[in-house]
Symmetry: C2
Subunit: 450 residues, 2 copies
């Protein structure tokens, strides 16, 4: 089991969703609910997030179901026949409004709003949060890394340390959405038709008694490869590439070398000089090993002659911010606005819209408003699913999603796009939404005293 088969994913939920659902059925509480998914506070090292994971999530929702074995399990756990029969017939029939994938967003802004009968909207909470959290987290981290590298390609080498198979596959998609050029993960490459990259590891060199022989044999099978030069001694490794180039003459098609340890900036400079001095100006230098946006930025500032970067763990687990304070909160039930007053965890009630204003081609400020307001700027949330089916207008084409993400990132003000410390982006709450929040708060307080 790696993430279970798709038709069993109904049970990817917290026990309390099922107990609440059982109680809702018992109380005949089937009226429509609206839940809002949003990030309460950005991590210290983030000034924006990049929405990701929507299309894979909607695909899961369209197919969400349970297996017979799972029903037996629920019966063993003491759940009612009423609940089990409900789940047997379960088909998600709700509406989803969402930020299109690749849209940048900020704290407290609704990323997704689900409108569905209360038991349905409740049941899917865990899955919705889990999937959008993972993919938004990794797309956002990847965007920072891609921005730090400017025009230089980033390759995702994270499959070995990303948290599990699902994170490996969907994470690679999310990272490409964030601006990464290719992934080493073949399962992700196949499943999502992503560009893949990779050539050789140290083990290949190690398995040969001579590094030079290893280079030579590998290029016989893959002439236009990237040779890994740091298995024994980096500079000596580069010299062997030069020796091979001389030996092969016109047959030498190698495209570059990879450095994976040591002082990457200094080794890149020495390697570049050696290559150039020997007529190999056209060979690229790929650097990898413990890289992230901060290290890449430092290498770029020092003008290290590196042509592309392989980034693994730091990106794949979003190591400086491995989780987002994401929440999925009830904001309306049976036509009435809802919120909770738990300290430090404010909720904006009701269905909402976000209006984004642009000035001189750059985003200038956002306003979170009630869903039916008309405010200056561009409304961000779009209807993407009704009656449990994705709408034709919903963007599924991954290339277009990636283009949208790049356009969004280009429109971020430089102070938000940078990885340096700076001001945060301005997000307002509209007067009407603010009034409504006040009004619902009063109602809830009354419910707390009755």
């Amino acid at each position: 089991m790696t993430g279970t088969e798709q038709d069993d994913l109904g049970l990817f939920t917290d026990l309390y969703q099922l107990t609440m659902l059982d109680a809702y059925l018992n109380e005949d509480m089937h009226e429509e609910a609206v839940f809002t998914l949003f990030v309460r506070r950005l991590p210290d090292n983030r000034k924006f997030l990049l929405a990701a994971g929507l299309d894979p999530l909607l695909e899961l929702l369209e197919n969400l179901s349970f297996s017979e074995k799972q029903f037996d399990y629920l019966a063993d756990q003491g759940f009612s026949d009423q609940l089990i029969n409900y789940l047997r017939e379960f088909e998600f029939s709700g509406q989803v409004r969402a930020l299109p994938e690749g849209t940048v967003f900020f704290e407290n802004e609704p990323m997704v709003e689900v409108r569905a009968p209360l038991p349905q909207a409740q049941l899917i909470e865990t899955l919705v949060m889990n999937q959008l959290h993972l993919q938004t987290l990794l797309a956002s981290k990847a965007a920072r890394i891609a921005l730090a590298a400017g025009d230089k390609p980033i390759l995702d080498f994270g499959a070995r340390r990303v948290h599990g198979i699902d994170a490996g596959v969907k994470g690679s998609r999310a990272m490409l959405l964030g601006g990464i050029r290719a992934t080493s993960n073949m399962l992700a490459g196949h499943h999502y038709s992503l560009p893949v990259a990779g050539t050789m590891a140290h083990s290949y060199i190690q398995a040969h008694d001579s590094e030079f022989d290893a280079f030579k044999r590998f290029t016989e099978r893959f002439p236009d490869t990237i040779l890994l030069v740091d298995t024994i001694d980096t500079i000596e490794g580069v010299k062997k590439v030069i020796k091979l180039a001389k030996q092969l003459g016109d047959e030498f098609k190698v495209k570059g070398i990879r450095l994976d340890s040591g002082d990457l900036g200094e080794l890149a400079k020495q390697s570049r000089k050696l290559l150039d001095d020997n007529g190999l100006e056209h060979l690229d230098i790929v650097a990898s090993g413990g890289l992230d946006e901060y290290k890449i930025s430092e290498l770029e500032n020092n003008k290290a002659p590196i042509d592309s970067f392989g980034v693994g763990t730091g990106m794949g687990v979003s190591d400086d911010a491995p989780a987002l304070d994401i929440a999925y909160k009830l904001v309306e039930y049976a036509g009435k606005g809802r919120l909770k007053l738990s300290s430090g965890k404010p909720v904006l009630p009701g269905e909402k819209q976000v209006f984004r204003e642009t000035k001189d081609g750059q985003f200038s400020q956002d306003t979170i408003a009630r869903y039916d307001e008309q405010l200056p700027g561009h409304p961000l949330l779009q209807k993407v699913m009704t009656k449990g089916k994705r709408l034709p207008s919903h963007q599924r084409d991954f290339e277009k999603i990636c283009e949208h993400a790049q356009q969004q990132l280009q429109q971020l003000p430089p102070s938000i796009r940078t990885i340096e410390k700076s001001d945060s982006y301005q997000v307002h709450i509209s007067d009407r939404l603010s009034d409504y929040q006040q009004q619902v708060t009063e109602q809830v307080k009354k419910g707390g005293t009755s």
Copy 2:
């Protein structure tokens, strides 16, 4: 797609594993290789690790295969018929020696050693690392949290923010292995027969117009539940539980309350007093919301009257150390020891064994040795798989694995078991292994100059 179906997992590999494999086949390099999996350096906030994930991994290895669509994909990617035919017949036939799950270990100690024909051992690298990394990471984090809570139960509430479905399911197993009492994740509970826990969320309260009605209706369906009291005002919430107790009299079966926001220590004290003053001494207090081993330790030091802790994100993503510096390195091929000399990344060549000495019932020191040495102490690595099949002696029973983990943790010296800063555990390298490393290093340097 959530992690793909099991029979497609052969393709969960990095592209370079396949290019190397293609080259190995081209060069007829089928002799036996040994790869060692180990953690190079412990994260700053870890003084030990808890081995986890072995049995789920071995199950995957027994069943590893590819789908026809994947072969088409590989052909499209330019892979040779020779490679594709090899994968079509692929069946892992290697030997695995490993630390039993639940064994504590330290940096540089082999956790797993795989002996198999080189192409096989190479192909599985990405999967082996990914799976053991995830599960060891989360079991180790969970062990710290469980130790900080002493005898008080910890509940895993992390499903919503753990990185994807696979991490959610296998992670819950790993966290229970680390000492957590139960999980909220129903898919994990079902798949691995784990104890599950959970009652109600804020949304249930919010969906009712009155908090008191919500409590009352929920207890009609689930009389012996835990009521969540912080949706509106924590202390007022507790008072409503008391009101309900008075109203229901002998029918009141509620087992406890849950606090999920605010100053948990202070609110627990006030709640405890209110409950006790009203004859509800038997109600437990569960605390949750942003907890980890540091916060639990602080609450325990302040004698907060909390009976159990729900821990989510901090544990589920191992937030203070979201990745381990885990490596899977070629250490032997065709009967010869192998290593690489890349700076800062030392490798111990050849098959190895770890001997652990115990003094007064506590682990005192470990020695990493060659596999055939006989040294004082208990040898830790056991043969768990031969010819690609799990051995009958390999422990699959999850309860026994958990017992072993608890015994191991109890035998850790207090200075290693604590979450405070202190010395690290002593790990030596045997003289014979040290000599062998020297000898292989010389050989490899020769290979670097030839």
